[in-house]
Amino acid sequence: MLGLNSLSKLFRKTIGPRIEALGLLPHRYYLHRALDALEEDDIDEAVRMVTLAGNDKKDARWRLVCQQVIFRCRVLASQHQKQLDRFETEIEIFGKPSKLNNTYLRLQKAEESARDILRSYELSLFNQLNVSKHDSVTAE
């Protein structure tokens, strides 16, 4: 048991990530990893895992996990958008304070870039979902 575990650990530390990146591991493994990443709000990893699991895009489990990640992207992007709106309202009401100007601009840029990254993830997954939908319509 100890030897088996050591071997599996060695595998995970050496060639595991490479094989994982090739998409050769079982479909469920990637879904499991995607759900783990989603739980930790590691959207980048979740998107990567969902993409790797997407060999069979008609699979109901894949579609549901993919939609879960899209939903989370939308929720997080809307939070960043709300934060941006708050900044704009504050600047409109109080004007641009010269000392804080740079800080405001930096925060605004960070929020904008976070929102855009999330939207690009959403778009990428949405395209994958639509490809699967298109495939099933063509098959019919």
């Binding site: 100890l2 050591s6 530390k13 939609q67 879960q68 899209i70």
Partner: protein, 108 residues
């Protein structure tokens, strides 16, 4: 005649100590955390087998983590969920089932 079993406490303790020493030695030599690795493998195994359960838990967590503004009521939250799940038919269906299950549970 029933076989009598002799349990040795000192033997058990020695075994445990030897096991611990072996694990520490392996960890030192290979740099791998054996027990953690073992738990990770077991956890991943269960995760693979129980993927449907995990997907269900993921859906519930997703709903729990929808941010709620202090002044908003349940209609606002429902509207927000509705907006966020546009063009996600399977997820929407899961949400509806969860809400229905909640209503049924309240009735019961």
């Amino acid at each position: 005649m029933a076989e009598q079993r002799n349990l040795s406490i000192s033997g058990g303790l020695t075994g445990a100590l030897v096991g611990l020493a072996a694990e520490l030695a392996l960890e030192e030599i290979t740099g791998m955390e054996i027990v953690n690795g073992l738990l990770a493998v077991i956890g991943a195994g269960f995760g693979l087998i129980r993927i449907d359960r995990r997907i269900y838990e993921g859906t519930v967590n997703l709903l729990k983590r929808v941010p709620v503004e202090p002044n908003s009521d349940y209609r606002d939250v429902l509207e927000q969920i509705d907006e966020m799940s546009l063009e996600l038919p399977e997820l929407r269906e899961s949400f509806v089932k969860l809400v229905q299950a909640g209503i049924e549970a309240q009735k019961a």
